[in-house]
Every structure is written in structure tokens, then in C-alpha cells.
Subunit: 194 residues, 2 copies
């Protein structure tokens, strides 16, 4: 049973308004390859249409896949996934499929067919890449337009986050650096995964 429900596109910016660390998902156009990485550097840039900016290093496998498919996914991990977020932020997907390696159970986004995570995540978005050669080159800053979004109703309802004692595992995490995340006032030290 899923607790995920669609988020109105006019509310999509709220999902990353407060600066959470996100997971970026991608796939090749032919669907034969996919990837997932962590990104601490993202922000909304417009409410309507819902557009975001995110820093994705030009050397990454993700950049290659985004350019190939014209799309990327944003998944917002809950606190319970801090270890995973830290793990997929290290190492490259060129060396092997990280979804298989970390046994990540991904669903398929409804509009762009991107891998999206629900278990342990608070929300996800599918984004259509907006090519901006100069800022991608100069600042590794990529732009995208959100075309579908969903969130776990236990932590995000009617366009608003609701952080409570009973949903701590779904609360967003914010990377301080070196595997330390702020979460609901606590610092979580990520552990290496196998």
C-alpha cells in the first residue's frame, strides 16, 4: 500500500524550498542504463511553471544520462535513508548499476518514465531538462521543469510539509558536509553501506 499521492504542480517548489538533500535519478533514452546520485545543491527558481536549478558535475554519469534522455528525477529522502543518500553520493554509476548494488526498489515515473523512489522517501518529482549550455559549463548548474510530483501523505499534505514526532523517519535531511545531516534538530552521522 502506498502513501504517495500526486502533488499539484503549483506546490512542487515547496518540496525543496527548505533546502533538503535530494537524490537525482536518470536513465538513458533507450532505457538500458540508469543512475542515482545525491545532490545537496538544488533550489526552486520559479513557482509557475515549476522550475528548479540543480548542480550536477559535468564529469558525472548522471550528466551524461540527462543529456541523452532530456530528463531527470528528484527524490527527497527521509531521515531513514541518510546512509543511502551518503552512499550513492560516492562512487559512480558507470562502474555498475547502483540500484542493484544497494537493492533500491524504484518505481517508474508516470510522465517521463524516470526511476523514482517511494520507500523511505518523502517525495519525488520528474523534471524535463531545460538545456542551458553556458551555466552547465560554467557552474555545473542545470535547469529543469517539474512535470509530475508526488509525496507521502504522512509528511506532505495539501501543499504543505508537516514535520511531527510521529513521522521523523520521513523528515527531510540537510547535508552539513562529510556525511553529517541535520534532521529535525538532530545530526545524523551516515554510516558507510556495504
Amino acid at each position: 500500500m502506498t502513501h504517495f499521492h500526486p502533488v499539484a504542480l503549483e506546490h512542487a517548489s515547496r518540496l525543496i524550498n527548505h533546502g533538503p538533500t535530494v537524490l537525482v535519478t536518470s536513465r538513458s533514452k533507450d532505457g538500458s542504463r540508469r543512475n542515482i546520485m545525491a545532490a545537496a545543491w538544488s533550489m526552486p527558481v520559479e513557482f509557475t511553471p515549476p522550475r528548479i536549478a540543480i548542480v550536477i558535475d559535468k564529469k558525472t554519469f548522471t550528466r551524461e544520462l540527462v543529456k541523452d534522455s532530456g530528463a531527470f528525477g528528484i527524490c527527497i529522502p527521509g531521515a531513514a535513508l541518510a546512509d543511502l543518500a551518503y552512499a550513492v553520493g560516492n562512487g559512480t554509476g558507470r562502474d555498475g548499476d547502483k540500484f542493484s548494488h544497494y537493492r533500491i526498489d524504484a518505481s517508474t515515473g508516470p510522465v517521463l518514465g524516470l526511476p523514482v523512489l517511494e520507500a523511505g522517501c518523502a517525495a519525488w518529482m520528474e523534471c524535463r531538462w531545460i538545456p542551458e549550455a553556458h551555466t552547465e559549463d560554467a557552474y555545473d548548474t542545470c535547469f529543469g521543469e517539474v512535470v509530475s510530483a508526488a509525496a507521502d501523505e504522512r509528511v506532505f499534505q495539501r501543499g504543505r510539509w508537516s514535520f511531527r514526532d510521529d513521522n521523523r523517519a520521513l523528515q527531510t535531511i540537510h547535508h552539513l558536509g562529510a556525511g553529517n545531516f541535520v534532521h529535525a534538530g538532530q545530526v545524523i552521522q551516515a554510516r558507510p553501506l556495504g
Copy 2:
């Protein structure tokens, strides 16, 4: 007695790595006018040189001053300043000096002479504006390079945040929308200021 100490530029990105709401300060080239606004949408884009991106609406007085002076400041309010952050995020500085109106005690940044706040803030940065006409126009996204930074040693030391029970008032705030901020696991409801 100040608790502020310089932050090494290689650590500047850490100050906004976790997505805090910030205050953007600016002044006209001739120093006759100044402004302060809140911004939830900012992110680092590079470690070295330390560069950041921030969304500043093209209609704002701040954009006008940034273009005039070629610089902007970033102040990172602690939880005790949530009300002020919400207040300066509404209303325009064209109608009157917000520093005077809200009795904000600003210091002068050492490199660019920008207004910077220490009392109640966790940190500040002075940024040299990097003009990028297209992204400013299309996404209201402005780039800047950090040329000086300082932080309150009670909450940021040797390049790292330290959020503890004894420094809650200096902990960063993260805007969920509509005046609700996440702070150390608690939601702060900002009140209107006079």
C-alpha cells in the same frame, strides 16, 4: 564583544550547503541607499572559487542595487531572527530603509563594504556579483563569488556547523512556506513585526 570570526573561503560553501533561508543585503554604489530582503532559494555552485547562485526577483529593489554596486551580502539568520526574516521578506525597500524601520544594527563588510548582520545571525558572506544576463532574465537566478565570510564561533567552527542544545537561537532556519520554518526539528511560526 563579538563571537564572529573569519571563515576560510574554502569553507564558505558549507554555510549554505544545508539550505538555510538567508537575508540578502545590498547598497547603492554611492552608499546612499541600502536594502535587505529574505531569500529561501540559494545554493552553492562551486567550492573553489566559492561561488553561489541565488534567486532574486527582477522586480526587487535588491536587484537594482546589486546591478548598481556589483555586489551583494548574504546573512544567515539564527532561529531567534525568524520573525525578522519573514518581515523583511515582505514589503519593498523602495518605500523606506528597512534597516531603520526594523532597527537592524548592521556592520560593514571588510572587503566590499556591504551591510552585514551579526547580532542574531550565524554567519555572513560578501559576494561579488557575476553578471549572467540570460539566467537573470529567464530564471531570476544570480551568481556571485564569495570574497569574505565570517561566522559565530558558537555555532560554526573550523569549517563545520555544530548544532547543539545550547545554541538553538543561532541555529539556521529553513522556510517551508507561509512563514513556517524548520529549525532543529521544530517548526517556528513567524509573527508579523510592527
